[in-house]
């Protein structure tokens, strides 16, 4: 048995230790967002955040994740209450088929958590390991910029809340 902390909840799992995290997320926890794209760490569709860092879940065995905090797209927000980065992607209509998008969002989220004001160049470098076949790249870049602004204004309003 392995204990996995996903989106703030602990799960006791009966999975072989060599099972890649992706399969556990999708099958055992019924989380849809992280996608199987290549199983080789080449495309980024499976990206989730582990302890603040973007991780390719298709090549990360669950045995390495005991005691770590895993966040998937579902852990950021919901359709009814989207996180700033989800809002930004929706507002920019930054998807066509959308298969790559969850992975893109998670890597961008990890970037924005450590660098609130990334340059366009920094975003491009960060997303270098992610493939999009529909050619939605321009919108994805715009969405990450928009997310950065939304997160800053959310932080600012949080600050006001606490002042009050």
């Amino acid at each position: 048995m392995i204990t996995l902390t996903v989106n703030g909840r602990d799960h006791r799992l009966n999975a072989d230790p060599d099972t890649p995290l992706l399969y556990v997320l999708r099958e055992d926890l019924a989380l849809n967002a992280a996608k199987f794209g290549c199983g080789l760490g080449q495309c980024g569709a499976c990206t989730v955040i582990v302890d603040g860092k973007a991780v390719l879940s298709c090549v990360t065995p669950v045995l390495l994740l005991e005691g770590k905090k895993v966040t998937t797209l579902e852990g950021l927000g919901t359709i009814a209450d989207p996180a700033p980065i989800q809002r930004a992607f929706i507002e920019e209509q930054a998807a066509q088929c959308g298969f790559c998008i969850a992975g893109m969002v998670m890597r961008a989220q990890a970037l924005l958590q450590r660098n609130a004001r990334p340059t366009d160049e920094q975003i491009r470098v960060e997303l270098e390991s992610h493939l999009c076949r529909c050619g939605t790249h321009m919108r994805i870049l715009r969405a990450v910029h928009r997310a950065a602004k939304l997160m800053q204004s959310a932080d600012a309003s949080d600050g006001q809340e606490s002042v009050r």
Partner: protein, 734 residues
């Protein structure tokens, strides 16, 4: 006259349903019956497209599929507009052999023209019938009634909800013409309504066939042969069936699959099964470094598809040859399907582009009547044509048949998608032309060599599983797709006005690699060839490329998109770009009958490495009546980037036996470091004109515009796709 003649309508009372029948006036009926609009031709009853229940809930039906192109949203916009109901109040059912019309494939940029048009007319005719029924009930002439938010409003303010008016249903044959709204009054069509599918995709909703989880579902993987035509020699099935979680190994001739309780168990068992199997392979693949000659030697059926004037008399000014390699759809998610056999009936959830034709193939493979097989479309990763979707559906069905009652989820591995998907065919074109004294083309000669561009099902023989079975189905004989849309000859006939011209299509039946439809079919390479050659001829005529195109183009809508793209780009004849930069331009009307697209680009080439980078692209597009401008912009932006990836980087690789481009390392595509600084899309709306579809119109112009910009930047013309860094560097150094 009122486009719908209701004079002889009969109301059948007592059933609670509004059942009407009406016929054409005698004067009209004596004429040839007019064709029904769009896909109403294949499903002429209004309630095949729109159903309203007694509670006023409205469901729209389309036989087309959402592929990530925004179909759902556009179809709903059209229905909401013509029905006068709030956009958000509508439900939509897409491609499902159990529920929707047979609209064939979702392909060829046809969805808006076929399905959008059908829904538009069905909605307008239904609204007219509801108005008429309301008029009858309140005793007010229809002219004094209006519709609003799903209700008919009488002059005294009385509201009659559509649900109240409709009773239990409305089963009425469509008429050829409809009381469509004045496009000037549109409030939903033409607006950038946000896509209905995007929020779910951004929040981990169950958006894809990959996300289906049925009770008791098992996971399957196939072991594909290592190469085309390989025959299984030995396979130690017993050893694999002992592995943890393995439920069953399914073998039928050269078809091999394993089913397990959990997905990763299936993956591990697949790898073990693969290692426990030996194959006899045959070396049958051609020399990938000599594709042009390979194509010429395969043998062709030749047809002259255009001849006018007296071509071949004038002295040739220029001749050139262009080629394209085999290219991959490269879907980000490998193909997947879920199948379940219950009480002798098979259901398959699939991301096929054609639920009906794929059903026909699967039913034939399973030797079941088609009525016992249901295919339900569920979105997958973007396909861009005939990828592994149909094959995965067949794989899942074949496995599920061996496990009655059990839902089976089958997903391909990355290397299976790359190696086994049907590729976009390699192509070769040869052009020659004469430029006369006035700097105009007087003679044009174009030849194209290509395989077919569709080996879609249809029959079982198109499906890998059926080809690999013990009693296999033969691959059907390939056919050229008929003009005017064409396949290998799509867009081979020039849109320009040349006084003398000849175009020959060399259709190659032999297919050394598995090929089929890939976005834009032959138009990608034919437009690349024509529009590259137009630039070469413009240069020979010492004329600006944009001016040169306009000199040969009569079509006013074509001239408008060229002018718009040039103006928005800031195109100026003779304008000098900065060092190592180049400007390019290209134009086409997709299939010469669908959307118009002109693209201007700026490219930078690193002279030391040959690396090209698209800096900026400006597109102008005319797709007829715009339904969703942001949807069109998204399609065109995507077309430019995907076509740029094909054009600069992509070719399927193989040795004499096996496909060797089997993942993203061996088949590199566009990454963020090469994404341009800016893409602008300018849309010319044509209110009231037919929908032309925008999914494929950008592929050819983007390729040629980039090639022209590279030629402008380097002074070297590259004619063989892809325009790799090495080829550019070699040309610079030559």
């Amino acid at each position: 006259m009122n486009p719908i003649d209701l004079n002889r309508r009969q109301m059948l009372a007592g059933s609670g349903a509004l059942v009407v029948s009406f016929s054409l006036r005698p004067s009209v009926a004596q004429e040839q019956p007019a064709k029904l609009p769009g896909s109403l031709r294949v499903a002429p009853f209004l309630d095949s497209w729109i159903s309203i229940d007694a509670g006023g809930n409205i469901t729209v039906f389309t036989g087309k599929a959402e592929l990530g192109q925004g179909l759902r949203t556009a179809v709903l916009q059209i229905a909401a507009e013509q029905l006068d109901v709030p956009f958000a109040s509508l439900s939509l059912v897409t491609a499902d052999t159990g529920r929707t019309a047979n609209e064939g494939y979702t392909s060829g940029s046809h969805s808006m023209d076929d399905s959008g048009t059908a829904v538009q007319h069905a909605a307008a005719q239904m609204r007219a019938l509801l108005l008429d029924e309301a008029g009858r009930r309140v005793g007010v002439p229809v002219e004094n009634l209006r519709t609003e938010s799903g209700a008919v409003i009488a002059p005294d303010g009385t509201r009659l909800g559509y649900g109240d008016l409709i009773g239990a249903g409305l089963h009425v044959q469509a008429q050829p013409t409809s009381p469509l709204k004045d496009p000037a009054s549109y409030t939903i069509i033409g607006k950038p309504v946000p896509r209905v599918d995007i929020p779910g995709k951004l929040a981990g909703g169950a958006a894809y066939v990959q996300d289906i989880r049925l009770p008791g579902m098992k996971h399957a993987r196939v072991v594909r042969p290592p190469s085309y035509g390989a025959r299984m020699m030995t396979c130690d099935i017993a050893a694999i069936e002992k592995l943890p979680g393995v439920v069953k190994v399914v073998r039928d001739g050269n078809f091999l699959a394993v089913v397990a309780d959990k997905e990763f168990q299936a993956v591990k068992a697949m790898m073990a099964l693969s290692a426990a199997t030996t194959w006899q392979e045959r070396a049958g693949l051609p020399d990938q470094d000599d594709l042009a000659n390979v194509l010429l030697k395969l043998g062709s059926q030749d047809s002259t598809i255009l001849q006018h004037g007296t071509p071949g008399l004038a002295p040739v000014t220029l001749q050139a040859s262009y080629s394209r390699p085999y290219q991959s759809h490269g879907s980000i998610g490998p193909s997947c399907a879920v199948a379940q056999m219950v009480d002798g009936a098979m259901t398959v959830w699939t991301h096929t582009q054609g639920v009906y034709p794929d059903r026909q193939g699967i039913a034939e493979m399973l030797r079941m009547p088609p009525a016992k097989v249901r295919l339900i479309h569920v979105e997958g990763s973007g396909c861009y044509g005939h990828n592994g979707a149909d094959d995965a559906a067949a794989d899942a069905a074949l496995i599920a048949r061996a496990m009655p009652g059990v839902p089976v989820r089958l997903q391909w591995m990355r290397e299976q998608e790359h190696a086994w998907e049907p590729f976009g065919p390699a192509m070769l074109t040869r052009l020659k032309a004469s430029v006369g004294a006035e700097g105009k083309i007087t003679d044009w000669h174009f030849e194209v060599w290509s395989n077919t561009h569709s080996m879609r099902p249809g029959g079982a023989g198109s499906l890998l599983a059926a080809q690999h079975m013990e009693n296999p189905f033969a691959v059907p004989a390939p056919k050229p797709l008929p003009l005017p849309e064409g396949g290998g000859d799509r867009n081979a006939i020039p849109i320009y006005a040349f006084p003398n011209a000849k175009v020959v299509h060399h259709f190659i039946p032999k297919m050394p690699l598995r090929v089929s439809a890939m976005r834009a079919l032959g138009a990608y390479h034919n437009v690349f060839s024509i529009e590259s050659f137009m630039d070469e001829l413009a240069s020979a005529a010492a004329t600006d490329p944009v001016e040169f195109r306009l000199k040969h183009l009569d079509d006013p809508r074509g001239r408008d998109v060229i002018a718009k793209a040039a103006q928005a780009f800031g195109w100026q004849p003779g304008r000098k770009p900065s060092e190592d930069h180049g400007y390019g331009f290209a134009f086409a009307r997709y299939k010469n009958l669908a959307a118009y697209c002109a693209i201007a680009t700026e490219v930078e080439v690193d002279r030391d490495t040959g690396r090209p980078r698209l800096i900026r692209a400006v597109a102008a597009v005319d797709a007829g009546q715009v339904v969703n401008p942001d949807g069109i912009a998204n399609q065109i932006e995507g077309a430019i980037l995907q076509s740029m990836s094909w054009t600069l980087y992509e070719s399927v690789t193989f040795d004499d036996t096996r496909i060797t481009s089997i993942d993203w390392q061996t088949y590199p595509i566009l990454r963020f470091n090469a994404v341009p600084d800016q893409i602008e899309v300018h849309i010319i709306n044509r209110p009231g004109q037919p929908f032309l579809g925008s999914g494929e119109t950008g592929q050819g112009p983007a390729a040629a515009s980039i090639a022209n910009a590279i030629a402008h930047a380097t002074g070297k013309r590259l004619r063989n796709l892809p325009l790799t860094r090495k080829r550019i560097k070699d040309a610079i150094d030559a």
